[in-house]
Subunit: 276 residues, 2 copies
């Protein structure tokens, strides 16, 4: 297990953590803080313009651990699924343009009006299968991210690492996993599934689970402020050979998004050295 | 699969659904509505007094599908775990006194200050193992209820039917399962685990998953108002031979708890016939 206490080289900041910043501000903020890697969401890349974003990131020397995010495959009709696939191809293009190491996918939930979870699972599998040839041609790895079961209805119906591993088994080359502790820490099957995932883990995200949690999406904690045994999980992930960045991704309307991004970034860096 | 459209004989109301009612009011309300079974929580039984509650229920002729709830085994120290065990023995006594068909257990979460999930899992297993001889002597079946993963930290660290099945495998006679659709509907492994559970399913609870869900505990929906495929899950449960009551249990500070319990009970009955 890597010693991070003196070493921020594996730290990456997710743009969602410093949500008030544009891509330009993020790049500048990283420069000031000595941060060498980012994980941007598509919104700030698109707001900047993909070409300009690409130049800006290349000139900055920042590594891009992943682009967040594609996916959201299920839809109520064929036109909706086609639109999702088109959008995912654009996401592959954007990820390629900015030199991202992978494109994170979240599954999507039940189509509007549907209660058929098994059908949604199939649409996710079929959507990834349809996207894979395009991503392989672009040399862009896809990383399916299992999301917490509380998001199954409206965000993502792939909710366990076991399910993500099953998809990788089935769909093969070009598909890996984005592992975020927030979504999987509760799972008694986690040790076995991390071992099974092995080299499939393409990007590793951390934050913390707060007690109480006041919102199902936007109340994530700063690493160290919750109950997730972060070092234990990182030890398991690194035991598989994972040697990539650790991306701090915090959604927090109630706390961190209200603060100065500059200070939030400093606290992330400090926690990276002490509790991650 | 049973046809419920003309038949309310398998309907049971959980006291949490009509939370404003005392046990006396619940018994009267059931009489007026033609409801033949209840699933009380311990608070209203204790508020009534166990002996009086026992008489009241016996005289009413109401079936008691389960008593909610014991459990909450993990604690920061030995004294805390002993206190939990003592309280669970009292819960067995109360369940016996009111003629409940089983005592529902929820696991409990991480002890205060702990991030050691595996240790909490062990404390739950050890707690149930310690309680079982007492429950067996009383002839009171225990029903471990897997709770949604979003409750893992502070309420229950048994979060999948697979985990509950594993506990039953390990601990044997006298332990079964309380299955509530709210907690397990998202699980891709559900069909297999329901089949595996078979006769272990001692009590079956329904409500619905709302989109959006505004609170992690107290925003459950009335059956039919959310996205859970209730008939599909009931079909799987009844395919195992389950022929018991269907208990409507709704926690809802934001909606149903604000309404007249009399009217809530009528709506539950109607939904039982149409969507459950």
């Amino acid at each position: 297990m890597r010693d991070l206490s003196q070493d921020s080289r594996w730290f990456a900041v997710n743009s969602a953590t410093v949500k008030a910043w544009t891509l330009e501000q993020l790049v500048e903020g990283c420069k000031r803080a000595g941060v060498s890697a980012i994980a941007p969401w598509r919104d700030i890349v698109q707001a900047c313009g993909v070409e300009k974003a690409s130049r800006l990131i290349r000139d900055s020397g920042l590594a891009v651990t992943c682009l967040c995010r594609g996916g959201m495959f299920p839809a109520a009709d064929e036109a909706g699924r086609r639109a999702a696939l088109d959008d995912n191809r654009r996401a592959v293009d954007e990820a390629t343009a900015i030199g991202a190491q992978c494109l994170v996918l979240i599954a999507g939930g039940l189509p509007k009006g549907s209660k058929d979870l098994a059908a949604a699972h199939e649409q996710v599998r079929d959507g990834i299968a349809a996207l894979l040839p395009y991503a392989r041609d672009a040399g862009m790895p896809l990383a399916i991210e299992p999301l917490h079961p509380m998001t199954a209805a409206d965000r993502a119906c792939v909710n366990t690492l076991a399910h993500a591993n099953d998809l990788c088994d089935e769909l093969g080359e070009g598909l890996g996993i984005a592992l975020d502790v927030y979504h999987v820490w509760w799972d008694p099957d986690l040790p076995r599934q991390i071992e099974r995932a092995g080299e499939r883990i393409l990007t590793y995200h951390v934050c913390d689970w707060l007690v109480p949690t006041r919102d199902l999406v936007f109340d994530r904690g700063m690493p160290g402020d919750g109950v997730i045994d972060l070092k234990h999980i990182r030890a398991m992930v690194e035991a598989t050979g994972y040697a990539g960045h650790i991306d701090v991704e915090i959604f927090s309307t109630l706390d961190w998004w209200k603060r100065d991004p500059e200070k939030v970034l400093r606290i992330c860096l400090e926690r990276h050295r002490t509790v991650v």
